[in-house]
């Protein structure tokens, strides 16, 4: 390569999102009453695709293989951060494209897309954060626009209620996180993750440090919608506009995991904190408890829902439990496999879960109704979209030939490999239960007779395109799982090896 990009260019995905947000603000300022939805959506789409493209390019070019450290090591760009940047950017692109149709009657178009872009920029920063300060700020940067996005349907009681709950729990959680950070700082005297790792050797303050660590864990648990910080999730996902639900349940969750992976492996490594500390801070055990409770509660609650969207909301909680296995099965030894599996799962999950919520968006667009019964016989009206939804459901349930199969089973394999076969077993039981409620959707669409007459007047291009893209990605991610796995493994290697 002749020309070497400057180091800050490693933050290109983040910068692109920030730029998109600013451009949208500019457009909005020039013509506040613009009716040109296409321009706004296209700008946002272009920005997200560019961000995704840049992430892929960097990954392929090996940019992150030697971590690029910026701003006095408070930001680090490595394979892992680029990997997640790709996840966020692609989910954002899907959401933005879908929103073109979904938000067609909305009056604050530019603000909507700008908020999405801002949230995305916060998310792309999160996996790169190498300082607890950056962790907190990037987390807030992604959260604050999200609150607004959830409540953006101002006249819709559901949306507002969802926004309120999300916000209140979020505020509480972020203050817990902040307090936790302050306690960790109290013991370690630094906010840089590698230096925090050394705090484990401080004598006498294990209790303070331990409380700090668990409170930080709580802050991340909020972001990932893990029990007991999940309470906002069912309502927020149900009440929010469906594309926003997709965004939150896929990208935002993945961001929470990304930051958690880095913080817990770099700042609170298992070797020093859990195994050799003066008094053990067994956060792995805490995560294991959270993982088991999260997947169980999420799946069991999802099994008996009446509305599809809320079922998906709970299933999203359940998937948080699966992804937590990545942290819960860390042993300080050969952790790359399971951690990488968890990352790969989050990527696949990004596509399949986004797709599923976008199908809900489509159904809401058609005013089909919210319950399972309302979906009865939908396949006779919209076979293509229903086929895509079937792909998402089966993939979420972990069935081949879809991407969710590979990632989920490798995740379980990772847990077994780490010696936590019981974690995999609990996951397995939950997974089987999830098959039940996912297949309820399939059953409603394909097997049941239509219960009511409704006409589908239009087939929105944006939604269809987004759903189709997500479905194709979900299918191709099984045969094409190799690159995902490869980069997930090297991303994990960047943290634990």
């Amino acid at each position: 390569m002749v020309y070497q990009l400057p180091p800050w260019a490693a933050l290109a995905p983040t910068l692109l999102f920030v730029a998109v947000a600013l451009v949208l603000f500019v457009i909005d300022s020039i013509n506040p009453d613009t009716e040109n939805r296409l321009l706004l959506a296209a700008t946002a789409t272009a920005g997200s695709l560019a961000a995704a493209g840049v992430s892929v390019w960097y990954l392929l070019a090996g940019t992150g293989e030697a971590p690029i450290r910026l701003f006095q090591n408070t930001l680090v760009v490595d394979t892992m951060s680029l990997f997640f940047a790709f996840v966020f950017a692609s989910v954002t692109a899907l959401v933005v494209v879908a929103s073109y149709d979904y938000m067609r009657d909305h009056s604050y178009q530019a603000e909507y897309y700008a908020l999405v872009a801002l949230a995305a920029s916060g998310m792309t920063l999160m996996p790169a954060a190498n300082s607890l300060a950056v962790v907190f700020i990037s987390l807030e940067l992604s959260s604050l626009p999200s609150y607004a996005l959830v409540a953006i349907l101002k006249r819709n009681r559901g949306s507002v209620e969802a926004g309120l709950k999300y916000f209140l729990i979020g505020a509480l959680s972020s203050s817990i996180l902040a307090y936790g950070i302050s306690l960790v700082y109290a013991v370690s005297g630094s906010l840089l993750l590698p230096q925090v790792a050394e705090a484990a050797s401080v004598e006498g303050l294990t209790g303070v440090l331990g409380i700090g660590v668990l409170m930080v864990l709580g802050g991340f648990a909020f972001k990932t919608a893990s029990v007991p910080f999940h309470f906002w999730a069912p309502e927020a996902y149900e009440g929010a506009p469906a594309p926003v639900s997709a965004f939150l349940s896929s990208a935002s969750k993945a961001a929470g995991f990304a930051v958690a992976f880095r913080v817990f492996t770099v700042a609170f490594p298992v070797e020093t904190y859990v195994q050799t500390a003066a008094a053990s801070i067994d956060w792995v055990l805490a995560v294991q408890i959270l993982a088991v409770v999260t997947m169980t509660l999420g799946n069991f609650a999802a099994a008996t829902q009446d509305t599809v969207k809320r079922m998906l909301a709970y299933s999203s909680v359940g998937h948080a439990g699966y992804a937590l296995i990545g942290l819960a099965a860390l042993t300080g030894g050969n952790d790359q496999f399971v951690l990488g599996a968890s990352m790969a799962h989050l990527l696949v999950y990004g596509f399949m879960n986004t797709g599923a919520f976008l199908f809900i968006a489509l159904a809401e667009y058609w005013s089909v109704g919210r319950t399972f019964e309302d979906y009865n016989g939908l396949a006779t009206r919209a076979p293509f979209a229903c086929a895509a939804m079937t792909v998402f459901m089966f993939s979420l349930a972990g069935l081949p030939p879809f991407g969710g199969f590979a990632s989920k089973y490798l995740l379980f394999a990772g847990a077994v490999g780490a010696g936590f076969w019981w974690l995999a077993a609990v996951g397995a039981i939950n997974s089987a239960l999830s098959l039940y409620y996912y297949s309820r959707v399939v059953k409603a669409m394909w097997i049941e007779e239509p219960s009511s007459e409704f006409a589908i007047e239009s087939k929105p291009v944006g939604l269809y395109a987004a759903i189709a893209a997500a479905a194709v990605a979900t299918v191709l991610l099984l045969p094409g799982f190799a690159p995902v796995w490869e980069y997930a493994q090297s991303a994990a290697a960047a943290l634990v090896a």
Binding site: F394, G398, V416, A428, A432, L435, K443, E486
Partner: protein, 509 residues
């Protein structure tokens, strides 16, 4: 590349049929399904392999081994190939699918293109299951089977189809998860000895005793636990009593062609996997617990047969008798003799053909009479003679009439099992009593439905079945007789493939 081509052609056919109009989907699907039939027969005719695919010193037919996912410490390979155990099952799958498609023309009268597309998709998955030699690839296909099955039962099934479909779906999925955990635990327990999920590598390392501890679990316990997990996982699929209750429901509700596939091929996945995994990889555990496993087998045989005796629905009778017949396979496997294990494999093929035949015949009767209850009809023989003749022939095949495939298979199993391990004489003798009960319930059902004065409770005109309904029946019965008269068509290659497994046991017959 032949296996890939076989699967790809089947998948492409599935896609083509999906897009074809409903009216001609059945015909297109049948014609397209002849391609894999031809392919598998060609493969059979050029088949050249020796030894067991998972053990040292084997050469496989049509083998491909390519990287699929290589990253981190473990690699997953696209590894497929055939040995004497899988080749017959591949042939069975293609042939039975074709015939099942033909048998679908009459009963499937809505959403045909979807139905036939899914059937072909199912076939592709099954071909994958029987040819894959890397665990992960195998598992992909193994689970892939569930998707079309669920929809096939759920959409085109009987009145309780939704219940049956979801039960089958969830139950067998739990089983898959159990076996997945069991197997991966073994792979990871092997530590650095094996860094792949290749079944052959894992099997050889396990047999070489390289299993170490996994976390807090010692090697001995790990072996046992993994064995149990995998056994339970496969036992659901087989199904072995007491994991069988999904099967009758699924059978009764499934449309005829799906029942044919279910009984004919899908159940064999379980026994095939038992042979490939439990009995090949952990022979010491299997042999230490031979009596217990044999007890499961005997209970399956006798209890399944007793249940069949109590049924009043023709399809349920055949469904439960499948439970009974698959018990013999378990007995043969645990014998660890060439006759026993070979007979078990042969029984997979034989039972596949015979149970397919029985379900098909019941289906033809149902198409005409619109009832399957034994009490609702009698004397069908005078109205549909050819169907009844084939039904009778199939039923006698099921009872193990000599010179039909079922007898050969059961005989091999009995020969292999008798005296193979401590107490095997009694277990074998007990299992053999199944041949009396099976005769009892089949003869009873036939006497009531097929013979006696003609009567029927439904208002449908009973007339002889159409040619395309009868033709697959006749083809099947001919195949059953052919295999019964000359089992060597498959048995020779089967023996060759199971022989390396048998000496591990030492004695036996």
């Amino acid at each position: 590349m032949w296996i890939e081509a076989l699967i790809a052609v089947t998948l492409a056919s599935a896609g083509a049929v999906f897009l074809s109009p409903n009216k001609v989907a059945g015909k297109i699907a049948f014609v397209l399904s002849l391609l894999p039939v031809g392919g598998s027969l060609w493969m059979y005719s050029t088949y050249e392999a020796s030894g067991n695919a998972l053990l040292e010193g084997s050469t496989l037919a049509f083998e491909t081994n390519a990287d699929w996912i290589v990253a981190g410490p473990y690699s997953l390979n696209w590894h497929v190939g055939l040995d004497g155990i899988s080749m017959p099952l591949i042939a069975l799958t293609t042939v039975l699918t074709s015939l099942a498609l033909l048998a679908s023309w009459t009963p499937i009268d809505e959403r045909q293109s979807q139905f036939y597309g899914l059937m072909l998709f199912l076939e592709a998955s099954l071909l994958g299951v029987f040819s894959a030699l890397d665990f992960f690839v195998w598992f992909v296909f193994w689970e892939m089977v569930l998707v079309p099955m669920y929809v096939l039962i759920g959409v085109w099934g009987g009145p309780r189809r939704k219940y049956a479909a979801i039960k089958m779906f969830v139950y067998t999925n739990i089983a898959s998860l159990a076996l997945f955990i069991g197997f991966t635990a073994l792979v990871f327990g092997l530590g650095d000895a094996v860094n792949t999920f290749d079944m052959a590598a894992v099997a050889q390392a396990l047999r070489a005793g390289e299993l170490g501890a996994l976390g807090p679990i010692g090697a001995g316990t790990l072996k046992l636990v993994a064995f149990v997990a995998m056994f339970v996982g496969f036992a659901v699929k087989v199904p072995v009593v007491p994991f069988h209750t999904w099967l009758p429901d699924a059978h009764v509700e499934a449309p005829t062609p799906v029942s044919i596939m279910l009984a004919g091929v899908l159940l064999k996945m379980g026994t095939y996997a038992l042979l490939r995994f439990n009995f090949t990889m952990l022979p010491d555990i299997a042999q230490q617990n031979a009596q217990l496993i044999a007890l499961f087998a005997v209970i399956s045989v006798i209890y399944g047969a007793m249940l069949a005796l109590a049924q009043t629905d023709l399809k349920r009778i055949v469904a439960y008798s499948s439970v009974s017949s698959m018990g013999y396979v378990i007995l043969g496997l645990v014998a660890y003799t060439v006759y026993g294990m070979g007979g078990a494999t042969f029984q997979m093929v034989a039972h596949g053909l015979i149970s397919g035949l029985m379900f098909m015949a019941v289906g033809v009767i149902y198409n005409t009479t619109h009832t399957r209850m034994v009490s609702d009809m009698s004397g069908l023989a005078s109205k549909m003679p050819i169907t009844v003749a084939v039904f009778v022939a199939g039923a006698f095949g099921y009872m193990g009439l000599p010179l039909m495939a079922g007898f050969a298979a059961e005989l091999f199993i009995f020969l292999g099992a008798f005296g193979a391990f401590e107490g095997s004489v009694l277990f074998t003798a007990a299992a053999m009593f199944g041949i009396v009960i099976v005769a009892g319930y089949l003869l009873l059902a036939m006497q009531r439905t097929l013979f006696g004065p003609f009567e029927i409770e439904t208002d449908y005109e009973v007339s002889p079945a159409a040619f395309h309904d009868v033709a697959p029946l006749v083809v099947l019965i001919l195949l059953v007789v052919l295999l019964g008269v000359d089992p060597n068509i498959f048995f020779e290659m089967i023996q060759n493939a199971v022989d390396p497994l048998a000496p591990a046991a030492g004695g036996g017959v």
